[in-house]
Each structure stands twice: as C-alpha cells, then as structure tokens.
C-alpha cells in the first residue's frame, strides 16, 4: 500500500522520512527518528505515555498516523530543556519526586506543559483533570500534582509562559 514522505520539525530539527501510511506517529518518532523518550503503554488510547505536542497541542501520538503530521511542528520530552537548562516542570518533577519508574513521565511533562500554557494558575482539581489522560502506576499522583504546582509558581514568578 502507499508510502508517503513525511516531513516534520521535531524539537527544532527538520526531519524527513518515507513511511507507510499506517505508520503510527509514536513509531515514527521512536523508530524512524530515533527519539525513544516518548513511550508506548497501551493499545486503546488509554494511558498517555505517548503524549507529544503537535503544533502546540498535546496529543496521544499512538492515535495519529505519521502522515497526518506531515508539515507539523512536534515537541517531545527531549526538547523540553532549552539550551541544556531544565524546564521548570522537569525541575519540579525532580524536586518534588514526581516520578518513580519514569515511564509515564515524558507524557506527563508534555501534558503538564500544555495544561500550564492554557491555564497558568490551575487549581488542584484543574491539574488533576488536566492530566487525567495520563496514567501513572507508581506515584499515586500526589507528587505529580505538587511538581506541576511548583512549576506553575516558578513560571508565574518569572512572568513566563510554559
């Protein structure tokens, strides 16, 4: 069946590959582009481990075909630390012990960033709803919420957006 050329700008780099139409974006990112920070945790669009940012929106990359993302700007966890400086969310997750096994973490970070971009001062309930598309088995979520609150405060103090 049909093969397609897919060009994306990923974490600031322009990349082009030729793939089958059925290639899932998460496989495109992990296998074709070699960025394995984005993970696969389920097969029913349930867990959010595959969350990436496409044209500024947080999306589950297992439920998008790579061809749909042709021409898009994609950001994954590998692109969060600008110029080697950790993003306040990465700092927050580290400070507040917002991760244990680390497998859901990339997806959580991207989701959290999208949440804070839309809602810079979320309540606890808004945070919990905001990350309800991302499952974690290790942390019980409390410290993920605290990590996001840490980042919101830090970004707010710096007058920055997420």
């Amino acid at each position: 069946m049909s093969q397609h050329e897919v060009s994306v700008t990923i974490n600031g780099d322009k990349q082009t590959r030729t793939v089958e139409a059925r290639t899932l974006l998460v496989h495109f990112i992990r296998e074709n582009l070699g960025l394995t920070g984005t993970h696969i945790g389920c097969d029913t669009t349930s867990c959010g481990a595959c969350t990436v940012s496409i044209d500024g929106e947080a999306v589950k990359s297992c439920t998008v075909f790579a061809v749909q993302a042709d021409g898009a700007t994609i950001e994954t966890v590998e692109g969060l630390a600008a110029g080697g400086v950790l993003h306040p969310l990465q700092e927050g997750f580290w400070e507040k012990h917002g991760l244990q096994c680390g497998f859901c973490t990339p997806g959580m970070l991207i989701s959290a960033r999208a949440l804070l971009a839309r809602n810079p001062h979320p309540t606890e309930s808004e945070i919990r709803h905001g990350i309800s598309g991302n499952l974690c088995r290790c942390t019980g979520y409390n410290k993920i919420v605290e990590a996001i609150q840490y980042a919101a405060e830090k970004l707010g103090a710096a007058g920055k957006g997420a």
Partner: protein, 291 residues
Amino acid sequence: MIPAPFDYHAPQTLDEAIALLGRLGDTAKILAGGQSLIPAMRFRLALPDTLVDIGRIRDLAYVEERGDHLAIGAMTREHALEAAPVVAASYPLLLDTAKVIADPLVRNKATVGGNLAHADPANDHPATMLAYGAQIIARGAKGTRTIAIDDLFVGLFETSLAPGEILTEIRIPKPGKGSGGAYLKIERKVGDYAVAAVAVQLELAGGAIKHIRIGLTNVSSVPMRAKNAEAALTGKKPTDDVLDAAGKAGAAECDPSADLRGQVDYKRDMVRVLIKRAVRHAVHRAQGGKP
C-alpha cells in the same frame, strides 16, 4: 497493535474529498480526528482500503454565532468548544458535554463532526444535539442539504448521510430567554464512555416548562430522545412530583444493554436519577443560576 495497510489521501478541498469518496465507494473511510477510527483500525476491527483525511481542508473548523444559531464546523476539535467564550456564555449544555468527552488529550484531536457521524450511541454529542434540536449540514456530489438531528441517527453506527456525503457543519438554534440546559454523565472513571448520560435543554415561561428536549447517551442502540419524559414535563411546573414522573418515564422508555458498565435495571435507574438532576440544573440555569 498495528493497523492493516491502507492507501491514504489528504485532499485540500471539500470537492476533492467528495470526488474521491465517490470514486472509491465503500472501500474508503473519512479520517477526521481519528480518535474513534484509529483505535478500531489498530485492532483491525475497521479495515478500510483507503483513508480520506479531511484534516487539511481549510475552513471546516469554527465556532461562531450567526444570528439565530451557533454554527460549528465539523472539524472543530472538542477542546475548541471548551475554550470558546460564546459556548460558555450561552450554550452551557454544550460546554458541559465537551468537558466530559474522553480525556483532555483526546479532546485536542477528536472532532464534533466525527463524534456525530460515527453514530455511536455511546458518544456524547448525539444526545446533546438531540436536546438542542440541532441541524446538520451535509455536502455530497449532489450538493448541500440540511438534515434535522431527529432524522440523522437511523441505526447502530448508522446515519442518514448518503454514501460520499460529508457532514460539514452543525447548527444549534440559539436558546431564547428563560432557557437553560445541562449534561450529566455517569462514568466508571474519567475518560470512559457513559454508564448513562442525560442532555436537557428547556425553556421556562411563567415558572413552567414551555419546551423541553431530552437526549439520552448509551442506553439504546440508536441515540434517542426521552419523549415520554419530555411529555411528562412539558407545560408543567418542575415540582418534585413532576420530576419524579418524568424520571420514571425516561427510565422506562430507554433500552439499555447489560454490559461491563452495568445491568439493565441499574442503567434504567441512572436515567431516572439523571433526568431529575439534569432538569433541576437546567431550570436553575434558566432562572439565571450559575454555574
């Protein structure tokens, strides 16, 4: 889980899309948000030979009040409904609904048009559009036509859209003074389909319910209105007794299936309880109450 291979087209215009669908016939499926279709393809439950991706067609995503109705482009993402000030201001039933569809990530991709065209009785918009008495605009090779929402859902996963016809716009009549609406959904957890859900849109006059439409989610094989419940409420003041009778009528007229979400008697009783609560909330909003 890996989908089977398929051919893929991404037309730039609606006419191109319609022409493609005409040429390919039922071997092709429309790809909108993909949040229902792609999971089905990953389990090889859906096996289209070709996907026609309408995601590149310009001007299919908008949320605008146009005089007497709210016009929603079919490719509008669910999140856009959550974010649109006009929806929060004047269409609380729609906002309630958008907030409980799947999860926030899925809502960035899933489309209103897709949610309706899939005709899944478990989806949330069908009940809400039934409650609003919405209209659907569809365009095909023979031109454009309007379909009343009451005529859209004809069977399980089946709409009255003709082969090669694309749903392009949804029109919700602007609610008049004294109107209120609410969507209440019971789900096993956030992100799940409804155990049962009720959409209510009503208009009060002189303390009584002048008009009311009630849509039900996931308690029938075809999205349905609770017409007996509506009849029990129309022209009446929303007292406890009236609400009780309406709830019972709604419970009796729906047709839930037993599954992992619940037994039939439980689901019926949830319809009964939710009708009462949703009508109360809609009345509260009709009287100017917030939220």
